[in-house]
């Protein structure tokens, strides 16, 4: 049985932080790609609309 009173509850957080940091970095990478792609298409759409106007 683990006696919680003798454990620093935040110690495990330092380990899991590395995992969370990794997941967020991957998440941010794809999010940035999504943002670039949507920004690219919104520029093209705006230009296309201006031409048509």
């Amino acid at each position: 049985m683990i006696v919680y009173l003798y454990i620093d509850p935040g110690a495990g957080s330092l380990l899991i932080q590395a995992l969370i940091a990794g997941i967020i970095s991957v998440f941010m990478f794809f999010k940035n790609i999504k943002n670039y792609v949507s920004a690219f298409f919104s520029i093209i759409i705006t230009k296309f609309r201006r031409k048509n106007d």
């Binding site: 454990i7 509850p9 110690a11 495990g12 590395a18 940091a21 997941i23 967020i24």
Partner: protein, 453 residues
């Protein structure tokens, strides 16, 4: 000088205070970090933006004679120290986002917050500022953020459970003074609450590391960019949190009630007339709802604590005043019949509401009938309590003939005898002189202006 009872957790920097100033002792161990804080320009930047209080280094032989003390800094006492369990949802959210912002700025200057305590943020009116300059330490390459767990316990978990379950749950911090354990927060939520990336990572997954036995020397690396990503992700996750809005009794009371709408002008001019006669610095408006009448005080430069039992009414006050950058209106979600108790080590670490509340004037508009009838508090008790905390008192007496009082008396008929204007005056005049008494036009209500005997 007196030792600040809440300043004992950080051995590297302790606080003292007197009537005018806080004094911070900087220890030998903290000195390199403190020097970096100054030399890097972080101190000047935070000071310029009013993110921290302006402070100066002083020479104090008595303090500096103590072992390990290398520097002493001094800042002015702030008008009111409030605690997170007294904040509204948006106030809490503002404090959380502010802490992240401070940490991101610190990283730009090669420093990082070594702790992320919710008590390190205070409000000047409705604007947050950071009080613990000894929380900054020099950033070490690839080190995980050691305050991440504390940040999630102190800010993310209370905000998340407030948004997903019940807005009152941050009051659990009265029991969990060191933050809500992540597993406890998770246990209060539904599985579907963790379907977003933020809640899954920062709360659910994070809670899996809580109370885990870790062998010495096992430490993972977190790069600076990864740390910045964590902080920015926390920011965007917290920004998305909003509470489910329930319609409460006092929500929109000041706006939707024709009965009071007509009397607003008259009541405001009566209060202004009273205020012209005296000079005040600090006020407490109890039962203030969204703080409509509190503005009469803040407009005169009076620092005003706006207190109400209704979370959503006081939330509106904070949101409005925060947007207007108001540094004089300090909204607080407090139940006057059960105000914040003293908690923490020795029951002095975090003071009770009344222990922190000495003001020049108390305003109590249309609350006396609720205290005396709904909550059965004797009129003399109310008068005595107010007299212990203020010199002046503006109080609205709602007569037994008033239609709102009639509703209350119908459910509590045993108060019909003791709740009378005569008994009110006898009770209050035991502690106060009556300076003025004015009837509110067209209403069975009177405004009293009292001065303590």
């Amino acid at each position: 000088m007196i030792k600040e009872p809440s300043s004992f957790r950080d051995p590297e920097s302790k606080l003292l205070f007197d009537d005018v100033y806080y004094y911070r002792k900087i220890s030998n161990a903290y000195l390199p970090h403190y020097n970096h804080f100054k030399i890097s320009g972080l101190k000047d930047f935070l000071s310029k933006e009013n993110y921290i209080l302006h402070f100066q280094e002083i020479v104090n032989d008595a303090i500096e004679a103590e072992e390990h003390v290398k520097e002493v800094t001094r800042t002015e006492i702030i008008p009111f120290v409030s605690y997170p369990y007294e904040w509204t949802f948006s106030q809490f959210k503002t404090a959380a986002l502010f802490t992240l912002k401070i940490n991101l700025i610190a990283l730009e200057y090669g420093m990082v917050l070594k702790d992320a305590s919710m008590f390190n943020v205070q409000f000047m009116g409705s604007i947050p500022f950071f009080i613990d300059i000894a929380s900054f330490e020099i950033y070490e390459k690839d080190k995980p953020w050691k305050a991440y767990y504390q940040f999630c316990k102190h800010f993310y978990a209370p905000l998340f459970i407030a948004a997903k379950t019940n807005i009152f749950l941050p009051k659990l911090l009265l029991y969990f003074i060191e933050g809500i354990p992540l597993k406890e927060a998770v246990s209060l939520c539904k599985i579907s609450d963790f379907f977003s990336v933020g809640s899954f990572l920062h709360l659910y997954l994070h809670s899996q590391g809580e109370n885990k036995v870790v062998r010495n020397g096992v430490e993972k690396k977190v790069g600076k960019m990864q740390l910045v990503n964590i902080l920015k992700h926390l920011q965007s996750s917290i920004e998305k949190l909003t509470p489910k809005h329930k319609v409460t009794t006092w929500d929109n009371y000041n706006h939707n009630n024709n009965y009071f709408e007509d009397s607003k002008l008259d009541k405001s001019s009566i209060i202004e007339g009273f205020l012209k006669q005296i000079s005040c610095k600090k006020a407490l408006d109890v039962g203030a709802n969204d703080g409509f009448y509190s503005k009469l005080y803040s407009d005169k430069g009076i620092y005003t604590l706006v207190v109400d039992i209704d979370e959503f009414a006081i939330e509106r006050s904070f949101v409005e005043n925060h947007e207007n950058q108001n540094t004089k209106i300090h909204p607080l979600h407090i139940n006057l019949v059960n105000p914040t108790p003293a908690i923490g080590w020795n029951n002095v670490e975090r003071k009770s509401f009344w222990d922190r509340c000495q003001v020049d004037i108390i305003q109590a508009l249309a609350v006396i009938h609720h205290l005396a009838i709904t909550h059965d508090i004797p009129l003399q008790e109310i008068a005595s309590k107010f007299s212990q905390h203020t010199k002046y008192l503006i109080i609205e007496f709602v007569t037994p003939e008033d239609c709102q009082t009639q509703i209350l008396l119908n459910s509590k008929p045993h108060h019909c005898k003791d709740y009378s204007q005569l008994n009110f005056e006898i009770a209050f005049e035991e502690f106060f002189f009556m300076r003025e008494k004015i009837n509110i036009k067209g209403m069975k209500r009177d405004m009293y202006f009292y001065e303590r005997k």
